[in-house]
């Protein structure tokens, strides 16, 4: 589904990604862990199509097609979803208008008719329940005045409405208390299927107690320095990231 080969990217002349290789297949959950500043969020943004990094080498393929030449909206319509670390507040654009526009763009891409107003409201209610989001929030402007937890829940809510094939959740767990974390994780787990894949980007092991990954990758200084099964997360939890530094300096 997603194939990344030797991806290198610079931001303002500084190399942030120094040759990433990663393959994600349908049904898999990958966790990408690593200390702050290792390039996790840059990787997520590059896949979603934010044009802030200069790609200097490598390729990113989605269903065998070159993702890097597509605008972000096309990547989204093909099934990629980025759960933002810092969801953006957009005053004056209502949640309903925003999500209906987005959903209809997805439907148009698939050759389907726009969703009717009543079907859409039904869908909103049903998906809001899934992530236990206060339905009052859907009547407001996008993320405006939402608490940190509400914003994160809203990301999962949008994911539930748009039903992506590949969801990249960037630090969705940061700033969440245990209850909120559990709700978010439950939402993600309910949306898991053999056709879909998820990339969880996280700093802490905590989220992985609730969403069990098939693979764990450690990103450090722009490179994936270790890949293994879910046990790697526990190892990291015990040992911290210090050993990484020593290991990579030794290289």
């Amino acid at each position: 589904m997603l194939v990344i080969r030797n991806l290198k990217a610079k931001i303002e002349g500084k190399e942030i990604l120094k040759g990433i290789d990663l393959e994600v297949k349908p049904g898999e959950v990958h966790a990408i862990m690593g200390p702050n500043g290792s390039g996790k969020s840059t990787l997520a943004s590059v896949i979603a199509g934010r044009d802030f990094a200069e790609i200097t080498e490598g390729e990113v393929l989605f269903d065998g097609e070159n993702l890097l030449s597509m605008p972000p909206e096309e990547r989204a319509r093909r099934g990629i979803f980025l759960g933002f670390q810092y969801p953006v507040e957009i005053p004056g654009v209502s949640m309903v208008n925003f999500l209906r526009t987005a959903l209809n763009e997805h439907r148009k891409y698939k050759g389907l008719d726009p969703v009717s107003a009543s079907d859409f409201l039904k869908l909103m209610r049903q998906k809001a329940e899934l992530v236990e989001m206060d339905s009052q929030l859907t009547g407001r402007s996008v993320n405006e005045g939402f608490s940190g937890g509400e914003k994160k829940r809203n990301e999962i809510f949008q994911m539930a409405v748009l039903e992506p094939r590949l969801a990249i959740l960037d630090e969705t767990d940061s700033g969440l208390d245990i209850d909120a974390l559990r709700i978010v994780a439950r939402g993600v787990n309910k949306l898991r299927s053999p056709q879909n894949a998820t990339i969880l980007i996280t700093h802490y092991q905590r989220l992985l107690d609730y969403i069990v990954p098939d693979y764990v990758h450690v990103l450090y200084n722009g490179r994936i320095v270790r890949s293994a099964g879910k046990e790697l997360a526990l190892e990291l939890e015990k040992m911290g990231y210090e050993w990484l530094k020593e290991e990579s300096e030794a290289l």
Partner: protein, 457 residues
């Protein structure tokens, strides 16, 4: 009687005064004593003040003499124009049934009587006719507020004004429907129009007024229009203005609002389209406890220029004023905002606020904003803020990352920006209708105004 008959090498100011002197008998004899009473003084003032100079303090970004240098026929006598109101005008505001008055090229267009007099004493109609039928009432207010700030263009209007719309709401009265004033410009030759509106709300009265400016033929028009509004003690007025003119038009619009004790005036001006638009707004809070809310929104593209100038004067204590102006500028259009809050000595406990936000969609669009405070009292709360920016890149990416295309994402953000001003329009169906027009305008689907079948108000 056209401007061309006056020598061409004169300055525009001299041309105008020479034209007046050559035609003053025509103007005086066709007018009323009430309106004529002010002309001698107006001529004297105009000679002294002249047209505002380009780059002068209040006209830094608009060259008024250049506008007057173009050839226009000074339209002081209404010509016969075949005009079938039912063919051309269709009110498209759903659920908005109004009493309406039409100005055709600055003269009241008679559609069954030149004054509509309702049983509750409300009068809507021709200013000229009102000044003949109710000379004392009109004289008590006419040209009393337009002098709040000395302005050559206003003296010029007073010098030439022949007609306009008159609205009178007696004390403790509310008209049964909103009042709609429609300015239509339509002629085979370019015209200079100087109409004059007078709106009087006596104490504790309430009114909802909607004003639309339209051009219905492609000729250039230059308007120098004055509207005086008097809000008596405890009166409440909602005033919504829509400007939709073609690119060859120039509209200079002066709105003077005089507010007595505990009056409440909420006015919004939406400039959808227009070649050159200058909106001057002067407010005087003359009595204690009054509230003034003034907002404006303009949308420009190509070479259009919209200039908003405000002057809100707190002359009495315990008043509140809020100004909220926004502009969205596309292509190589330009805009200006100059807003002043003046707090006079003794106007304690004033609460005055001003905000001006602008969105530039291209690198060639230009906006100048000048917020100004002038405070002569020590116990007041005044604030102002101005921004000129571009569409938020983070918000754009957020929308696009959900599958919304670039154009649509841009449109959603522009509309959200504009809609904040529209939220100030209290009448819901009118607000919805204007929102729809703004929506069309932003999508560039609004029909050019000279072929506009008047679907927009």
């Amino acid at each position: 009687m056209t401007m061309e008959t006056i020598e061409k090498d004169l300055l525009p100011d001299e041309k105008l005064t020479a034209f007046y002197e050559a035609n003053n008998q025509v103007i005086l004899s066709a007018s009323s004593d009430v309106l004529n009473h002010h002309r001698t003084k107006a001529l004297e003032n105009f000679r002294k003040l002249g047209l505002p100079k380009y780059r002068s303090e209040d006209y830094k970004y608009l060259d008024v003499p250049a506008l007057f240098r173009k050839e226009y026929t000074n339209y002081i006598t209404p010509g016969r124009i075949e005009f079938q109101i039912d063919d051309i005008f269709r009110c498209d505001v759903p659920a908005l049934d109004t009493h309406y008055a039409i100005l055709l090229n600055g003269f009241y267009h008679d559609h069954g009587g030149s004054l509509l007099e309702l049983s509750n004493g409300v009068i809507v109609g021709s200013l000229l006719e009102a000044s003949r039928r109710y000379p004392e009432l009109v004289a008590r207010h006419y040209n009393r507020y337009a002098g709040l700030k000395e302005e050559g263009l206003v003296s010029l209007n007073t010098l030439f004004a022949r007609d306009g719309i008159f609205v009178y709401v007696p004390a403790n009265t509310t008209p049964d429907k909103p009042i709609q004033l429609i300015n239509i410009q339509m002629h085979e030759i370019p015209l200079l129009l100087q109409y004059r509106n007078l709106i009087i709300l006596e104490e504790n009265s309430t009114a909802e007024i909607i004003v639309c400016d339209h051009t219905l033929s492609p000729q250039p028009f230059l308007s120098n229009a004055v509207t005086e509004i008097y809000a008596g003690a405890g009166a409440r007025l909602n005033y919504t203005k829509m400007q939709n003119q073609h690119n060859a038009s120039a509209l200079i619009n002066h709105r003077y609002i005089y507010q007595e004790r505990e009056s409440h005036v909420n006015s919004t001006a939406v400039t959808l389209h227009g070649g050159i638009v200058r909106n001057n707004l002067f407010v005087r809070m003359a009595g204690e406890g009054g509230t003034n809310i003034s907002s404006g929104l303009f949308l420009t593209d190509q070479g259009q220029h919209v200039d908003n100038f405000t002057w809100v004067e707190h002359a009495a204590p315990h008043c509140e004023s809020r100004q909220f102006f926004k502009g969205i500028l596309d292509d190589f259009s330009s805009g200006a905002f100059s807003g002043r809050i003046v707090v006079k000595p003794g106007a304690q406990k004033t609460n005055a606020y001003q905000k001006n936000n602008n969105l530039l969609l291209t690198n060639d669009a230009r906006m100048n904003t000048r917020p100004q405070l002038e405070i002569y009292a020590d116990d007041v709360k005044c604030s102002h803020g101005a921004t000129v920016g571009q569409l938020d890149k983070d918000a754009m990416f957020y929308l696009r990352s959900r599958g919304i295309g670039y154009e649509e994402a841009r449109f959603l953000l522009m509309f959200a920006f504009a809609n904040e001003v529209l939220a100030n329009i209290p009448v819901v169906p009118l607000r919805a209708r204007i929102a729809d027009l703004v929506n069309k305008r932003l999508r560039r689907e609004l029909s050019p105004c000279n072929s506009c079948p008047m679907h927009c108000c």
